[in-house]
Symmetry: C2
Subunit: 319 residues, 2 copies
Amino acid sequence: MRQAGRYLPEYRELRARALSFLEFCYSPQLAVEATLQPIRRFGFDAAILFSDILVVPDALGQKVAFESGEGPRLDPVADAQALARLGDEPNWNRLSPVFETLDRLKPALPRDVALIGFCGAPFTVASYMVAGRGTPDQGPARLLAYREPKLFAALIDRLVEASAEYLARQIAAGAEAVQIFDSWAGVLPPPEFARWCVTPIAALVAKLRAKAPHAPVIVFPRGAGTQLTQFAGLPEVAAIGLDTATDPRAAAVALPDRVALQGNLDPLALVAGGAALDEAIARVLSGFDGRAHIFNLGHGVLPQTPVAHVEQLMKRVRA
Amino acid sequence: MRQAGRYLPEYRELRARALSFLEFCYSPQLAVEATLQPIRRFGFDAAILFSDILVVPDALGQKVAFESGEGPRLDPVADAQALARLGDEPNWNRLSPVFETLDRLKPALPRDVALIGFCGAPFTVASYMVAGRGTPDQGPARLLAYREPKLFAALIDRLVEASAEYLARQIAAGAEAVQIFDSWAGVLPPPEFARWCVTPIAALVAKLRAKAPHAPVIVFPRGAGTQLTQFAGLPEVAAIGLDTATDPRAAAVALPDRVALQGNLDPLALVAGGAALDEAIARVLSGFDGRAHIFNLGHGVLPQTPVAHVEQLMKRVRA
């Protein structure tokens, strides 16, 4: 999960130096610093590139902006004409600051800290591209997928190609592992989950493998619930990230032993701190006992999280 | 799921006659008419009382209002003082229009149409009571549960008692089955899901059984996902409602045969209509094949749903 953020005073200071959030992501100097801040403060085992999943639509030529406190706003891609106006592939010059950020991070990180790159999964990115914003249920994208499945498939295919090449270039620039965030897959019924979440991710990973055979791939299908089993057949996925509501033991049954499990501390337990946090940490550690496990939150760090609680977390997990 | 709503022109006409949404719920004449409208138009097998889950906090003395297009607004109950100001039990006079609505509905409905009463589950109602509004993650209630578990448990206990008596009175007034909506249970990690969703519902149903031994109880734990198995041990629950993202076959494994399964057509497929709707209906019917099944949506009817698509649905399912 994103480690930097508003819960860190040094992040808020840094954020104030950029005019827009995209400018922040595209400034190697600021993005390197944002990536390093939580590593310096907490000494995590891995650093995750500071960026955003919507740089891909931006590089495909869609207008993307972040309204302060309002989330992203995009010119919606909701018909064939709008899709045709997008580039066949991203403008790689537009994304070059991301690769430069990774290139600069490599020597700046302690040798034993892994560097993780990432992108959004095709369905999640498409859901923002179609709706033009975040929505509670990804209704606009799902409705388009029902009404015009060929058009929606063309958008998904474009994102599969772009994301595979994007991750390959991140790896070439220094990322040692990559994570694919399908933050909104959980709204999809089983056949749509297979068609728009699992199949595109499988295609993306296969294409990535042809370009970059070795870097481990982590997939985060938030809200997959009973549909987690659909990921059991993806041999190229090294780890699956689990959201907070997923029962670790059910995930261990649903996914073969070769898949490491990542997660899934409740970010609100991290806000609460105290005994509630200690109990939640103990439950995550025992829940994944006997399984290859990457300790992580089940979703992002919340802005109101006290820094002292993250320190408490690190101390407990390290012990 | 609520069958009446803005997708029906006759509902919009009716809604315009009441000043506020609560006044609408508390007017037997209007609530009877809203309950009957979809039965007249579509001939469903069962009618669900037109009301709202927040009448319980309202009857407990919390200030509840519905802002037009904004959802509910309540004076938050976030500390012991606010909890102490609530009644020990609901003001039953305040809720008497609900019972009168049920009483009037019984003779107004065709004899072969069942009448379903309902309430919100303790966790979902508490999440609105604590936050004072809908939130994406029920953060305020969950945070209170972590920080002050005794206070949150006291609120949950109050709601268990009130809801059991409320449902018993609905049954006495004519409801032939009751449904308990835990619309926000899906955000809870496993131990919290057991503590704040499953255990309070089990207590509610046990108390209800003592007062009304026979009416079937349906529970809708939206987003339960891999945690559905936690409902396997509730012998008094006749049916479990499943959300759209739940795999019917996984639910059939998670829950014993004595539990009927209800659901779970994607409301967006109903908006889309055409071949997408026909396919979605066929998948629901085949997915629950071999199991006691109540055909339903996986969530409420969306306002933009064309009436003709509901007619298409009824024709296919009846056939």
